[in-house]
């Protein structure tokens, strides 16, 4: 698979200077965008289209620090990564206790309705999970430097890669539970449905 880091002439590292990446993205877009290849022969136009599509996909994969980690894992494992995958993530073991509490709160709400304490409890559970969800992102992005050091020093990257995967899985699972809670509270917006990628 194409290494998106090389599209921007970058090493396979996680700390990326955002303004530099954006500038490089604009430069490459000016070079390849189909707007600047009109009126040339069809083969050249097709090349420009493909090159421009690649630059756009690469930028999308790398501009967000968290998406960058997801992409890196896929790249290291040599598989295609796809955004917006709808497979339901499995519950990580560490979340078992919280999940039991959430189940209890949901059962209570089902029995008593959302007006009383049950509704309040659901909202509290959701707020707690949302804080945890945001915390997971910070934790993942916070170890980007560790990865880069391992690359520089030639250390064993496997354990950290596994750690990233575990944290991302936990985060994905939290998202589905938060969405389920919002559904139960009748507060979820339709348009968020297929966008569980972060």
């Amino acid at each position: 698979m194409t290494d998106y880091f090389t599209v921007f002439g970058l090493p396979r590292k996680l700390v990326v200077d955002a303004p530099t990446l954006q500038r490089r993205f604009y430069e490459l877009s000016r070079e390849h965008h189909p707007d600047f290849h009109h009126g040339v022969e069809a083969a050249r136009q097709a090349e420009a289209l493909a090159a421009s599509a690649l630059v756009n996909r690469a930028y999308r994969a790398l501009r967000d620090p968290l998406a960058r980690v997801e992409y890196l894992i896929a790249l290291e494992e040599g598989r295609e990564v796809r955004e917006g995958a709808t497979d339901k993530p499995k519950a990580p073991r560490e979340l078992l206790e919280e999940m039991l509490e959430v189940q209890e709160a949901l059962a209570e709400a089902k029995a008593e309705g959302l007006d009383g304490d049950a509704g309040t409890r659901l909202r509290e559970e959701r707020a707690r999970l949302e804080a945890r969800y945001a915390g997971e992102a910070d934790a993942i992005v916070g170890r980007a430097g560790d990865w880069d050091r391992l690359v520089d020093e030639g250390g064993d990257r496997k354990p950290l890669l596994e750690w990233f995967k575990q944290r991302l899985a936990t985060r994905a699972y939290l998202r589905t539970v938060i969405d389920d809670l919002s559904d139960a509270l009748g507060e979820r917006e339709e348009s968020h449905v297929s966008h569980r990628r972060h």
């Binding site: 877009s29 000016r30 965008h33 600047f36 996909r57 955004e83 449905v193 297929s194 990628r197």
Partner: protein, 608 residues
């Protein structure tokens, strides 16, 4: 390279523009008008487009098509709720709705092609040479089928459509060219039939769309409808007459409501006067009345604005400028609500009716190589996915992905010796296939017979810079290109478009001069019709001498109209108008007096 023009193909009005000497300008018609009403009428003399079609709309409601943009790329299910409100007959077909004009069926792209052809001819008259290439704008929230339908319309009109550009993005180009917008800008575009919100970052000549959202069925037309309903109820209450079954009266009411709505953007109150055949209707309308009707519609635009901000990962306070585009943003209520949402006043320094066409001209100039320092990076408004087992959608390209973009997906066979695979491609944000927009069914054929699960077919989904999907397939084991037959769910097939291009030559409205003659004759008919009615209603209040003068002018116009001398027909039309002027004044006076009296009566009733 030949000239490339920029076209704004609007719900209510259309325009054509061109960059001359570094400045984009709208090309006017011979009379100096820049807006061409997007109205097409089939008259005994031939097809009439624009102002002339609008003027005869009420008289010829069943054969006059307006707001056809709302039907572009649409299936029957999408539009069935509003068909009752349209005076022309829409044939209920699941895939591509069509309009019945006499014994012919006309599809929405063919209707739009008439509007495009009129603009093409306008540009050709201006330049004195053929114009064959264009950039055409569409609402940012248009889906694949609606974009394709617009492209088809261009082809039928004899235009090579080099690019489909999103309307709010085009507007940002017009502002950007004149360095009138920098930083993060929100473009709020409320037109005649559609609503878009786009958030862009404008930096170093790059116009990067961060997120877009909208509603392709919300615009000025809906405000007019709300007003018409309100007026119908008022007429029922005050005159005891139900006009809803009278197509001619309904069109007069709609046009009257539209005009009153526009006046209320500048005045606090207005009087709506319509001399119906059976009675003269007068109604005092305040801006408050209109805003009460419009409030829910304006509120419906705010959700998409919030969603676009969320998708752009920005807070309202991070937006540097809010730009208003589209005629409906002249309404003070819209300006107020948008200003509140973004926490800053929204502006429209460039004419909101023209700015999209100007931007299309800028994009045309970029494609022609005349502007090299500006680059537009747009996004796809809706997620693209395929149907998987259990009717679930698997998203391949999420919404707000910068275009062009591509995604690859791999498929195999489930039965030994299977040589074809079906794919269902969808667009939308819902989890289940049935809740999304079906784009097309792909038939992958020519797979070599192999045991089940052995073939590995790679399908590349590519969304080009127009936001239109292209697909390619390849069997990886043999390296053979598999053929893809695309059956668009809501679009015309290649063969149908070719047939329409051919038809357009056969049935073509004759040349420009013939068309202008028909328009002039139609205009004469409209005036004669109005005068006849005025005489019937108020002939009694005109002195005999004045009456005789009007009758004479009318007889003269009738004779001239039967001939082909366009200038003379126009002159006689003006003469008839002049002869009728005193009568029109008198009618107006009577109407106002009437309105004042009826208002006093209302007040007396309220107080009693």
């Amino acid at each position: 390279m030949s000239r490339i023009v920029g076209i704004d193909l609007g719900t209510t009005n259309s325009l054509v523009a061109y960059v001359e000497g570094g400045i984009p300008r709208v090309i006017p018609d011979a009379e100096g008008r820049t807006l061409l009403p997007s109205i097409v009428a089939w008259t005994p003399g031939g097809v009439v487009v624009g102002e002339a079609a609008r003027r005869q709309l009420a008289r010829n409601a069943a054969r006059t098509v307006y707001s056809v943009k709302r039907l572009m790329g649409r299936g029957y299910e999408d539009v069935k709720d509003e068909l009752a409100r349209l005076p022309f007959a829409v044939t209920p077909q699941a895939e591509v709705v069509s309009i019945r004009i006499g014994d012919r069926e006309v599809t929405p792209p063919e209707v739009s092609a008439h509007v495009l052809r009129a603009l093409k001819q306008r540009a050709e008259a201006h330049f004195g040479e053929p114009v064959e290439q264009a950039v055409i704008t569409v609402p940012a929230y248009f889906n694949d089928a609606q974009r394709q339908a617009t492209k088809d319309a261009g082809r039928i009109a004899g235009l090579e459509v080099l690019r489909i550009v999103n309307e709010p993005t085009a507007a940002s180009l017009a502002y950007g060219l004149q360095k009138m917008a920098q930083g993060v800008i929100a473009v709020y575009d409320l037109g005649g039939g559609t609503f878009d919100i786009s958030i862009l970052r404008v930096k170093d000549g790059v116009f990067e769309v961060l997120a877009t959202n909208g509603n392709t069925h919300l615009g000025g037309d809906d405000f007019d409808r709300a007003m018409v309903d309100w007026l119908l109820a008022d007429i029922q209450a005050r005159h005891g007459i139900d006009l809803s079954g009278d197509p001619e009266a309904m069109q007069e009411l709609r046009l009257g409501a539209e005009a009153a709505k526009c006046r209320l953007s500048f005045d606090q109150r207005t009087v709506l006067t319509i001399p119906f055949e059976r009675f003269a209707y007068h109604r005092d309308i305040t801006r408050g009345d209109l805003e009460a009707m419009a409030e829910p519609l304006v509120a419906a635009t705010l959700g998409p604005c919030r969603q676009a901000l969320t998708d752009a990962a920005l807070g309202a306070d991070q937006v540097d400028e809010v730009v208003l585009v589209g005629g409906s943003t002249r309404m003070p209520l819209v300006q107020r609500r948008v200003g509140e949402l973004f926490g800053r006043p929204a502006h429209s320094r460039l004419n909101p009716d023209e700015v999209v066409a100007l931007g299309a001209a800028v994009q045309a100039q970029i494609l022609a190589g005349g502007i090299t320092d500006m680059l537009l990076l747009d996004v796809t408004p809706l997620s693209l996915g395929i149907e998987t087992l259990g009717g679930i959608v698997s998203v391949l390209i999420p919404r707000n992905t910068t275009i062009p973009t591509l995604a690859k997906e791999y498929f195999t066979t489930s039965v030994d010796g299977q040589t074809a695979v079906d794919l269902h491609v969808l667009q939308g944000e819902r989890e289940l296939a049935k809740d999304n927009r079906s784009l097309a069914r792909f038939d992958l054929a020519g797979v070599d017979p192999m045991p089940a699960g052995m073939p590995k077919i790679e399908v590349t989904f590519l969304i080009d810079a127009n936001g239109i999907l292209q697909a390619q397939a390849r069997e990886l084991r043999t390296g053979k290109a598999a053929s893809i037959e695309v059956k668009p769910t809501y679009g015309l097939t290649e063969t149908q478009v070719e047939q329409m291009v051919e038809d357009s030559y056969t049935y073509a409205e004759a040349d420009v001069n013939a068309r202008l003659l028909i328009e002039t004759q139609t205009e004469a008919d409209t005036v004669i019709n109005h005068v006849e009615r005025a005489l019937r209603q108020a002939g009694g209040i005109a002195p005999a001498e004045e009456r005789a003068r009007i009758e004479a002018a009318m007889a003269l116009l009738r004779t001239t109209r039967a001939g082909t001398d366009r200038d003379q027909i126009r002159e006689r039309t003006i003469e008839l108008n002049q002869a009728t002027a005193p009568l029109a004044d008198r009618l107006m006076e009577a109407a106002i007096k009437d309105a004042v009296t009826s208002k006093r009566a209302d007040r007396l009733l309220e107080n009693s």
